[in-house]
C-alpha cells in the first residue's frame, strides 16, 4: 500500500475518532477541542487528496477549510460558553453509554449502506467513504439527543464536517466557488445560533431546549 493511501486512512481514522470523542465527552469545552482536531483531520484528507489527484486548487480549498473548521468555528463556539456549570455539561436524552453503542450501530449501518458506492472504484478515497457517512450519522445523533443548545451546535458542525468529508472522498472536492458559498453559509448559521443562544439565556435563564415546550407570557 502506498504511503498516500496510508496517510488517507490515518486522516480518515482520526476524523472518525474525533466524532466518537465528541459523542463521549460531556464537557462542551472538550468537545470544542475535538472539533479542532476534526477540522485538522479534514484538512489532512483534503491535502492528501490534492497531492494524490494533483489538483492544485484542492490545496487552496484545504487551506480555507482548515481556517474555517479548525480555527474560526471552534473559537466561536468556545466563546459562546459561559463560565456557569449548567452550560458546560451536556444533558443527553439517552445516556452516554447507550449513545456510544448507538454510534457503533450507526458506523456499521454507514458501512453497509455505502457498499455500492465503495465498489464503484478501487481507490483509497472510495474505501474511506463510509467514514464520512458515519460522521454524518453520528452528528445527527448528537444533534437529536442533546438538550443544551450549545451541544446541538456542536452536533450541527459535526454533521457539516461529515458532509464535506463525503464530498471530498467521493468527488475530490467541490468547485472552489461552491465551497466558498457553503463555508459562508455555515459561518452565518453559527453566528446566528450564537446570538440566539445568548438571547435564550437572557430571556429564560437556561439553554435547555426541552424546557421550552409551550408559550409563556
Amino acid at each position: 500500500m502506498s504511503t498516500d493511501a496510508d496517510l488517507l486512512d490515518l486522516a480518515a481514522g482520526l476524523f472518525l475518532l474525533a466524532a466518537v470523542a465528541i459523542l463521549w465527552r460531556r464537557d462542551v469545552v472538550a468537545q470544542t477541542k475535538w472539533l479542532i482536531v476534526q477540522g485538522a483531520a479534514l484538512t489532512g484528507i483534503a491535502v492528501v487528496l490534492g497531492a494524490d489527484e494533483r489538483h492544485p486548487e484542492l490545496y487552496a480549498v484545504a487551506a480555507g477549510i482548515g481556517l474555517l473548521r479548525a480555527v474560526v468555528l471552534p473559537a466561536l463556539v468556545r466563546r459562546a460558553i459561559e463560565a456557569r456549570s449548567e452550560d458546560r455539561e451536556t444533558a443527553p436524552l439517552i445516556n452516554i453509554g447507550a449513545s456510544l453503542l448507538a454510534a457503533a450501530a450507526l458506523v456499521l449501518l454507514a458501512y453497509a449502506v455505502t457498499q455500492p458506492l465503495v465498489r464503484l472504484e478501487a481507490t483509497a478515497a472510495a474505501r474511506a467513504l463510509p467514514v464520512g457517512f458515519a460522521v454524518v450519522l453520528i452528528g445527527l445523533l448528537v444533534l437529536v439527543t442533546r438538550r443544551k443548545a450549545l451541544s446541538q451546535i456542536v452536533g450541527f458542525l459535526l454533521l457539516d464536517n461529515g458532509i464535506t468529508a463525503v464530498a471530498f472522498l467521493a468527488a475530490a472536492g467541490v468547485p472552489i466557488l461552491v465551497e466558498l458559498g457553503v463555508s459562508f453559509d455555515l459561518l452565518l448559521a453559527v453566528l446566528v445560533l450564537r446570538v440566539l443562544t445568548a438571547r435564550l439565556r437572557a430571556a429564560f435563564g437556561s439553554v435547555d431546549l426541552d424546557e421550552m415546550r409551550e408559550l409563556h407570557d
Binding site: 496510508d6 463521549w24 452516554i96 453503542l101 474505501r127
Partner: protein, 311 residues
C-alpha cells in the same frame, strides 16, 4: 519449544511481584514518599506464606480453589503468550481467545469465592467485578477479531509473527484503535485506576479488595501473586500484540537473551506509564465505568470495521 514456555511461566511467576513493587515504588516517589522498595511485595509474600492457613466458617471448595486457580491460569497464560519467542511449545493451543478465557476463568473463580464468604463486602465486590468483566469481554473479543482478520487466525504466535514481518501494519487505524481499546480493557481487568483503586483502604470503593477481604495467610499470598501475574501477563500480551520488537522467532540463546531484555524493558515501561498515570487520575464513579467500557467497545468495533474495509 516447551522449555521456552516453562521459562516464560517461571519468569512471570518470579517477576510479577517485582513489577508490582516497581510500580508502587515509582508511585511512592512521585507522591513524595520514600517507598518500601521494589522487593517489598516479595517480602510480604514470604511473610504470608509462613502463617497458618485459616478458612472462615461456612466457606467451601469455591473459597479454597480460587487462589490456586488464579496462579494456575496466570502461569498457563504466561506459557501460551509469545513473550520471549514465537516458538512456544503449545502450538495451536496458544490461541488468543483461549488466553482471554483463562483470565476470565480466574476472575469468575474469585467472584464465586467472594460470594462464598457470605459477607456483604464479598457479595458487593463480586457483583461489581462481574459487571466490569461482562462489559469488558465484548470489547476484548471484538479487538481480538480486529487483529485476527489481518492474519486469518487467532493463533497468538501467528499474529505476532505477522506483525513482526509487516511492520507497517502497526500504524494503521485498525491496529491503533484496537491498541487503545485493549489498553482500556487491560486497566479494567487488572483493577487499576480509573476503574478500581489498587491502593484503597475504604471497602466501599473497593472491587478486587472487597472480594478477597476474608483471605489470610498462604491463601492471601496466592491471591496477591495471582493478581500480580495477571497484571504481568496482560501487559506482556499488550506489548506482544502491539509492540512485538525484540521477540525472537527462533530458539537461539542470543535471540532469547535479547527477547528477555526487551520484555523486561517493555513491561517496566508500560508499568511505569500506568503508575505515573495513576498519580494524576482519580477513580471513576462506578456508574461511569460502563460508559468507559462502552467507549472501549465502540473503539474495538471501529477497529474491526477499519480492518475489514480499509485494508
Amino acid at each position: 519449544m516447551l522449555a521456552i514456555s516453562l521459562v516464560q511461566a517461571f519468569l512471570v511467576l518470579f517477576g510479577a511481584p517485582l513489577l508490582v513493587g516497581w510500580m508502587r515504588q515509582l508511585r511512592s516517589r512521585l507522591e513524595g514518599r520514600v517507598g518500601a522498595g521494589m522487593l517489598q511485595p516479595w517480602r510480604d509474600l514470604v511473610k504470608l506464606l509462613r502463617k497458618a492457613p485459616q478458612q472462615p466458617e461456612g466457606t467451601g471448595p469455591a473459597f479454597r480453589i480460587a487462589p490456586l486457580l488464579g496462579v494456575a491460569c496466570g502461569g498457563v497464560a504466561a506459557a501460551a503468550i509469545p513473550l520471549l519467542s514465537t516458538r512456544t511449545g503449545l502450538g495451536a493451543g496458544a490461541d488468543l481467545i483461549a488466553v482471554v478465557a483463562l483470565l476470565t476463568l480466574a476472575t469468575a473463580a474469585l467472584a464465586l469465592a467472594g460470594l462464598d464468604t457470605g459477607t456483604a463486602f464479598g457479595g458487593m465486590g463480586a457483583s461489581r467485578e462481574m459487571t466490569i468483566t461482562a462489559l469488558a469481554e465484548p470489547a476484548v473479543l471484538t479487538a481480538v477479531f480486529a487483529l485476527a482478520t489481518r492474519v486469518g487466525s487467532t493463533n497468538l504466535p501467528a499474529i505476532v509473527a505477522a506483525t513482526l514481518n509487516h511492520g507497517a501494519r502497526l500504524a494503521s487505524p485498525a491496529t491503533l484503535l484496537a491498541a487503545v481499546a485493549l489498553g482500556v480493557v487491560v486497566l479494567a481487568e487488572t483493577g487499576r485506576l480509573p476503574v478500581d483503586n489498587p491502593a484503597t483502604h475504604l471497602e466501599l470503593t473497593m472491587m478486587h479488595e472487597a472480594m478477597v477481604l476474608e483471605y489470610s495467610g498462604p491463601d492471601l499470598a496466592l491471591i496477591e501473586l495471582g493478581a500480580a501475574m495477571r497484571l504481568t501477563v496482560l501487559l506482556g500480551l499488550w506489548s506482544a500484540l502491539f509492540a512485538p520488537w525484540g521477540i525472537a522467532t527462533g530458539t537461539s540463546v542470543a535471540a532469547l537473551a535479547i527477547a528477555l531484555a526487551a520484555l523486561v524493558a517493555k513491561t517496566a515501561l508500560l508499568g511505569a506509564l500506568i503508575a505515573v498515570g495513576e498519580v494524576f487520575m482519580a477513580k471513576l464513579r462506578l456508574f461511569r465505568v460502563p460508559e468507559l467500557l462502552a467507549g472501549s467497545f465502540l473503539l474495538a468495533v471501529l477497529a474491526v470495521t477499519a480492518s475489514f474495509f480499509l485494508a
